[in-house]
């Protein structure tokens, strides 16, 4: 790889001969070169941060733009995760409510329930008597006084049937069979809302994914542009180091680290923004959950979320810088 003027193609010579033949190129050992390569990386990473903080306004603005662009999809993602946790209790198991005729005898209903329990399509049956239904309704609706004024209980007995499977054809078949029973007044298959919820979640997921892709592209462009400016500002330096024998990799390195810095700083600020958002919303969300009788609490960004956000942002910064240097550094050649 290392091409040298073979000034030392004259191996064993006396000093005077060597002098006559021209100066001998200094050599650098492989171990030294590796150490120096690592040293240059270390130096460039430090240098990148130093430059980042040397112009806090402009670097900060760039990092903030990146942060905002990342915080939006990140917050959406976090919200979605929390939403899924909130509805996790509704595990998507469909349930069939069988409203029994008002005139049906309780014994007949109970035996019907037994019969259903024996059915292989049915996982379980809960019997709710008209009295229980009324008590529950009074408690939940707060219309206790109005109901107390009625002379008879208007509510029928209900059988809550939990099907064994969730295959929709089987569910429909089961529902039809339940409808055919003489005791049945009406059958409600509570599946539509479960499906809607799943669809809504999927919609949210895809929206956040699309938004994340678009904004990631935005971040990439911001980094490309910032790095392009950095390259322009250091044009002279690039020319000089190329003339003293710098490889393209050597010239690229500081800019790649700068891109990494931007990305990482943007990711950290984005994480901070999301954390602040969670902190602000945690109170109201908790209160709301209490009102619905749920113990749900908003979950903030965890460590994996933090690592993912910072790592992803750093990667975006690095890629943006790479795109910028690939385009611009080879164009800067000594003339």
């Amino acid at each position: 790889m290392n091409q040298r003027i073979p000034s030392s193609s004259l191996p064993q010579q006396s000093v005077s001969e060597r002098r006559a033949a021209g100066a001998v190129t200094a050599r650098t050992g492989a171990g030294d070169r590796l150490r120096s390569w690592l040293g240059h990386h270390r130096e460039m990473s430090r240098e990148a941060w130093r430059r980042f903080f040397a112009s806090p306004m402009s670097s900060g603005m760039t990092a903030l733009v990146i942060a905002i662009a990342l915080a939006l999809p990140a917050a959406l993602q976090l919200g979605l995760t929390n939403f899924q946790r909130a509805v996790a209790g509704w595990d998507g198991q469909p349930q069939i409510s069988v409203f029994v005729h008002k005139r049906a005898k309780e014994a007949a209903v109970q035996s019907f329930a037994e019969e259903l329990r024996a059915n292989t399509l049915v996982a379980g049956v809960t019997y709710i008597s008209p009295e229980e239904a009324l008590a529950e309704f009074q408690q939940a609706s707060g219309l206790g006084d109005a109901l107390a004024g009625m002379d008879s209980n208007p509510l029928p007995a209900v059988l809550l049937v939990r099907p064994a499977g969730s295959d929709s054809a089987a569910l429909e078949a089961l529902a039809t069979k339940l409808r055919e029973s003489a005791l049945t007044d009406s059958v409600v298959l509570d599946m539509a809302w479960v499906q809607r919820l799943a669809q809504l979640t999927e919609l949210g997921r895809r929206l956040s994914l699309g938004l994340a892709c678009l904004l990631a592209l935005g971040v990439l462009l911001v980094v490309v542009n910032s790095i392009r400016l950095h390259i322009e500002n250091r044009r002279e330096e690039i020319l000089v180091v190329k003339l003293v024998g710098a490889t393209d990799a050597f010239v690229r390195r500081p800019f790649l680290y700068t891109g990494l810095c931007y990305g990482l700083a943007g990711g950290l600020i984005a994480w901070l923004l999301v954390s602040i958002g969670v902190w602000l919303l945690a109170g109201p969300v908790g209160g709301l959950a209490n009102l619905y009788g749920s113990g749900f609490r908003l979950q903030g960004p965890g460590f994996t979320y933090f690592a993912g956000l910072a790592g992803g942002a750093a990667l975006l910064g690095l890629s943006g810088a790479w795109m910028a240097v690939a385009r611009h550094i080879s164009a800067i050649q000594p003339r």
């Binding site: 091409q3 021209g22 200094a26 390569w37 240059h40 190329k242 003293v244 024998g245 710098a246």
Partner: protein
């Protein structure tokens, strides 16, 4: 050390900067390259430093054919050259030390080695006491000496200088030339492009004269006129 064989350089504009130039410079020679501006001095130096490639002909430097040099090999080729510029091309965002250290850090020298060699180079040009200063505060002559220290810090076999005394008064020019002569004395091949004929005459070294892209003179001006 340097061998030009029928080298022609035609720029994209169609202008012939060099036409069929053949010359040979031995190891440890000190040679001046002269001629009016536009005669092809800069083009010759650019070919030598692999900034430009010849249109025709071959250039061999230290046994290496520059025509066959891939772009990725150019940096490694340049590490064996010392280049001194007319406007010295120092970086004003770092100290004298760091400017001189540039070729070494580019080549990947250890910190210790860098310190040792940079100080040796600065000592040779008499600026060791200014290593921590920013080159912007130095005088023109001192800046050029820093440029020379940077060119020789890698102990190159070939030192190429483009109008190194272009902006300096005669006395400083003389000092710079003495420096070049010292490097030459330890075996470095030195090629200096200059139009300062008086200075060149005093140096009593081999002179190559270019005119309109042609080599019209190759000899010792102490005995005959360089060009008229």
């Amino acid at each position: 050390m340097i061998q030009f064989d029928n080298v022609n350089k035609r720029y994209e504009s169609g202008q012939d900067a060099l036409g069929r130039v053949s010359l040979e410079i031995e190891r440890a020679e000190m040679v001046f390259l002269t001629g009016h501006s536009g005669a092809g001095k800069s083009t010759l130096l650019k070919l030598l430093t692999a900034i430009e490639r010849p249109t025709r002909g071959s250039i061999i430097v230290g046994g290496q054919n520059l025509n066959r040099l891939r772009n990725s090999q150019i940096p490694y080729y340049r590490r064996n050259l010392g280049i001194v510029f007319q406007n010295h091309q120092l970086l004003f965002d770092r100290s004298v030390f760091d400017n001189v250290a540039l070729p070494l850090s580019v080549a990947g020298c250890s910190k210790r080695e860098v310190g040792r060699r940079v100080r040796a180079a600065l000592d040779k040009v008499g600026l060791l006491h200014k290593e921590k200063q920013n080159p912007i505060v130095l005088s023109g002559g001192e800046q050029q000496r820093v440029g020379i220290a940077r060119a020789v810090v890698n102990k190159p076999a070939l030192l190429v200088a483009d109008e190194p005394t272009g902006n300096l008064d005669p006395q400083l020019s003389e000092e710079i030339m003495q420096l070049f002569r010292q490097f030459n004395a330890v075996g470095v091949t030195v090629l200096i492009a200059s139009h300062d004929l008086e200075l060149i005459a005093r140096m009593q070294q081999r002179v190559l004269t270019l005119q309109a892209g042609q080599l019209i003179y190759d000899g010792y001006p102490s005995r005959e006129p360089a060009y008229s």
